[in-house]
Symmetry: C2
Subunit: 158 residues, 2 copies
């Protein structure tokens, strides 16, 4: 990330501090994300969007409509469709029609998909634990709380 | 993002807290990033990678080699090449051979590119200021510091 480059330019002090915070947030998140992405690919031959789709389906064992899944994922419907197609081909996801509604299709994990995701999720949690492991519990709580405030501010503005 | 879904599962308390922090980091960053991406597209018809490339070149008025630019960007060389090609076609970037080294090409902003980027960067800073604006200066400093610790931890581990 190169946006640090811009910090020394215009704007008042508080505005510069916020820009600096944003660059740090972006850089930290990208760093961890890249590491997790590499490990998912290496260890499980899985992409991050595939992992996210499986996580959503794991929590919704009664199935989800594709539109629900897309909303959940913050990615385009088209992308989700491709990921689900691939998961179906791999035997990890199945499609079925909703009872009494022949036009509505639901998707959900197969038993093999459930087992595969549970395994990935457990390992993924140990990775996150390792990557954030040097933060003491107090720092973790402080950061989480501060980000929560930020989040609710945005939600209020939306 | 659906990974919140996983928090209630296995792992000890501290490990769960770290996973929760990671999910919040990812979600906060994606939210702001999506907003900035939308605004860059709407207001300047620019993508985030284009903005990042221009930011790097803005800070290096003597030019950069493509390999330097790629390292800086954390994206693939191929992507950077496409972005630079487009910027050249738009008159924002020029290429030239390094003095005394006919095989090495440098890229840099044209005067039009410099002006265009300076304008975008100023507006971008006001957006970040607005999106993070409800955080008081103390919270901004606290978050920045905590993330800095995190960053140096990773760097130490690499």
């Amino acid at each position: 990330m190169v946006m640090t480059d811009m910090v020394s330019r215009s704007g008042d002090g508080a505005s510069k501090d916020r820009l600096r915070l944003w660059i740090r947030l972006l850089r930290s998140t990208r760093f961890i994300e890249a590491e997790l992405r590499d490990r998912l690919r290496r260890e499980f031959d899985a992409t991050m969007p595939r992992f996210d789709v499986m996580a959503a389906l794991y929590r919704n064992p009664d199935g989800m409509m594709m539109s629900e899944l897309s909303r959940h994922m913050m990615v385009s419907n088209g992308n989700v469709t491709g990921i689900v197609d691939r998961l179906v081909a791999d035997g990890m996801v199945k499609r079925w029609q909703r009872d009494g509604d022949r036009r509505t299709w639901l998707v959900g994990l197969t038993p093999a998909g459930t087992e595969n995701f549970a395994q990935m999720a457990a390992v993924h949690e140990t990775w996150v634990d390792e990557l954030l492991g040097d933060l003491d519990p107090q720092a973790v709580a402080g950061l989480t709380g501060a980000l929560q405030d930020l989040k609710s501010d945005w939600e209020g503005r939306k």
